[in-house]
């Protein structure tokens, strides 16, 4: 079982290192260094006044918070999916209750406008 994870990890690291290697090699071995006018961000012609990195006003933060709570449901559903056929109808009813409870949360969020751009 650990062998499978090992080969998965090896494949991931191989793909990542190959891509990173190509990009780093290209950036190191380029014959044209980037001059100041080239480094200006591409906005169609004029310069920005400030850095782009700033306290970016995310407009969907209530949805993001709602999502973290909703994500926990996945943690409980994966094991449930494995034993579903064994447990039969009781599993269906229990998960039905669990989903209904969390669906109430989503409906509440929708009614309060959590999914609209604030």
């Amino acid at each position: 079982m650990l062998g499978a994870f090992l080969s998965g990890l090896t494949v991931t690291c191989a793909a990542a290192l190959f891509t990173a290697g190509c990009v780093i090699l290209a950036r190191r071995s380029t014959r044209y260094p980037s001059t100041a006018p080239q480094r200006v961000p591409a906005l169609g012609g004029f310069e920005p006044e400030t850095h782009a990195w700033s306290r970016f006003h995310v407009r969907y933060y209530p949805m993001a918070l709602l999502f973290i709570a909703f994500e926990m449901e996945m943690m409980f559903m994966y094991p449930w999916a494995v034993v579903f056929v064994e447990e039969g109808v009781t599993a269906l009813v229990e998960m039905g209750m669990f989903l209904a409870i969390l669906a109430v949360g989503v409906v509440y969020g929708w009614r309060e406008g959590a999914f609209r751009w604030q």
């Binding site: 079982m1 650990l2 994870f5 090992l6 850095h51 990195w53 700033s54 306290r55 970016f56 006003h57 995310v58 933060y61 209530p62 993001a64 918070l65 709602l66 999502f67 973290i68 709570a69 909703f70 994500e71 926990m72 449901e73 996945m74 943690m75 409980f76 994966y78 094991p79 449930w80 999916a81 494995v82 034993v83 579903f84 064994e86 447990e87 009781t90 599993a91 229990e94 209750m97 669990f98 409870i101 969390l102 109430v104 949360g105 989503v106 509440y108 969020g109 009614r111 309060e112 406008g113 959590a114 609209r116 604030q118």
Partner: protein, 202 residues
């Protein structure tokens, strides 16, 4: 196997340390994500494969949301200027080392029963039947808690409810009931009276 464990453990601790030492907030949250990924890998090495992989995707999403909020609320979010948002550093370091030493002592001197999990047990199937059987109460109460979390998160953070904007006609309450001195006035010695943020750090 032990080599993998040593690599993951060292990576987890080092990225954990770097989280509080780096300037850029985005790097801090994704270093914490790297620490979680390494802990997930260690869990997989300990044959808790469902916990390990579930930790991966659960923490990834949380760290993305954490990165969003860190960049939203931290001054100098990208670490262009050096970040020195630290107070009482020595006390904190002492407390940290103290707690680590105490727990390490428990680990070293405690005697725990040796009852390792057998490698080819169907751990996920056991967890599934446990969730539906023995600890079904935990499963459903977690559902209700998550519902409460959802409602509370939306109430606290969403500016606009069903009935329009949250702060129409509401002003932050003054410190003394009835008085007009509001706490943030002594924070901000601004002359122009606007919502002038207190810059320049300390």
């Amino acid at each position: 196997m032990t080599l993998a464990f040593v690599v993951f453990a060292a990576a987890a601790v080092w990225t954990g340390y770097r989280v509080f030492r780096t300037d850029s907030m985005v790097r801090a949250s994704f270093l914490l994500l790297a620490s979680f990924l390494n802990v997930g890998a260690i869990l997989v090495l300990m044959l808790a494969e469902y916990l390990g992989t579930a930790l991966l995707f659960m923490m990834t999403v949380e760290m993305v949301v954490m990165a969003l909020f860190m960049v939203m609320f931290m001054m100098n979010p990208a670490g262009l200027n050096p970040m020195e948002m630290v107070h009482q550093p020595r006390f904190a370091a002492a407390a940290g080392i103290g707690s680590a030493a105490a727990l390490a002592a428990v680990a070293l001197f405690g005697r725990f029963p040796a009852n390792p999990v057998d490698p080819n047990a169907a751990t996920i199937r056991a967890l599934g039947s446990e969730l539906l059987g023995g600890s079904m109460l935990v499963f459903e109460s977690a559902g209700v808690t998550l519902l409460a979390t959802m409602v509370c998160a939306v109430v606290l953070s969403s500016h606009r409810g069903r009935f329009g904007d949250g702060d129409e006609g509401s002003v932050a309450p003054p410190l003394e009931p009835g008085g007009d001195h509001r706490p943030e006035d002594d924070l901000v010695d601004d002359a122009d009276g606007g919502h002038h943020m207190h810059h320049g750090g300390h």
